[in-house]
């Protein structure tokens, strides 16, 4: 997954040296932030993202209760239930996000070698 992030960023900002990538990762996306951070240094090595920081924001799972109508947020994808009444008849929404939000780049075009 780290490679997919690196590939997507490199294709989006060709020729630019990337210094920071911010990601939104849903708690039910299947991506473990610690594992992604662990793989990050290897994935960016030798690419335009070499040395770039990785910042990850967690996106909660949103739960709307069919019994009491309240919407609440779950910090994890296990033990899904309404935070207000404890009901289990809930509609699930979000939490699957795996999105690159912003990319910080050097203002120097490394292919041209001049400030852009």
């Amino acid at each position: 997954m780290a490679h997919a992030v690196v590939r997507t960023v490199a294709e989006a900002v060709p020729g630019r040296r990337v210094t920071c990538v911010t990601l939104q990762v849903g708690v039910a996306s299947g991506v473990v932030p610690d594992a992604l951070r662990f793989a990050w240094d290897v994935a960016v090595s030798g690419t335009a993202l070499d040395g770039a920081r990785l910042e990850i924001a967690s996106v909660p799972l949103r739960v709307t209760c069919r019994e009491c109508g309240m919407t609440s947020e779950m910090p994890d994808a296990v033990h899904v239930r309404c935070a207000a009444c404890g009901g289990r008849e809930v509609r699930l929404d979000g939490g699957r996000e795996l999105r690159i939000e912003t990319v910080e780049v050097d203002d120097v075009d490394h292919e041209a070698g001049v400030a852009s």
Binding site: L23, D76, L92, L98, T102
Partner: protein, 218 residues
Amino acid sequence: MSIIELRTAVLAKNDDLAAALRLDLAAAGTVAVNLLSSPGSGKTALLELLLARCVERGVPVAALTGDLATENDAKRLARSGAPVRQVVTDGLCHLEAHLVRDHLDGWLPEGTRLLFVENVGNLVCPASYDLGESLRVVLASVTEGEDKPEKYPTAYRWADLVVVTKVDLAGACAFDEQAFLDSVTGVHPGVEVIATSARTGQGVDALLDRVLACLMHS
């Protein structure tokens, strides 16, 4: 330094390909079923029976089976008489939409109504990759313990159907069905659960009926 707002899904390419594949399959009258489970849960044994039942019932069926290495599963499944193709991932721990599309191109027999895609045995990465399926099924064997859904919530959270396998062994390994169902409910309230045994045939027809119901809605 400049900040560029990308707001791009990391798996956008895969998701776009999967969406296109789903449309192509629908146009051809084919419904794809993505089978996910951990290694050794009995995906292939159950699929052998499902393919054989389809052949008996005259349902045009085909299967792709993904593994890191070997053609063993394709050889096993082909004994059913259904067209089967192996996808060797060369170490990749999951199937991706482009692998499915490339293996279907020019191979999937015309008129195929049901396509089973047996994912690589793994409950982590396969859960993140849409393969263009209309039905995602996660399998759990009774020998794996009752708390599998809580340990792999993403796989269960996005499944359309949960299948318990090897229920003929439930007594031998003191499988607590209610504890398993509670664990499923904890991560995916309301998802349907079907109990099966590839050894006795229990639940196989019920599962196939459930899968074929997707054809009615396609």
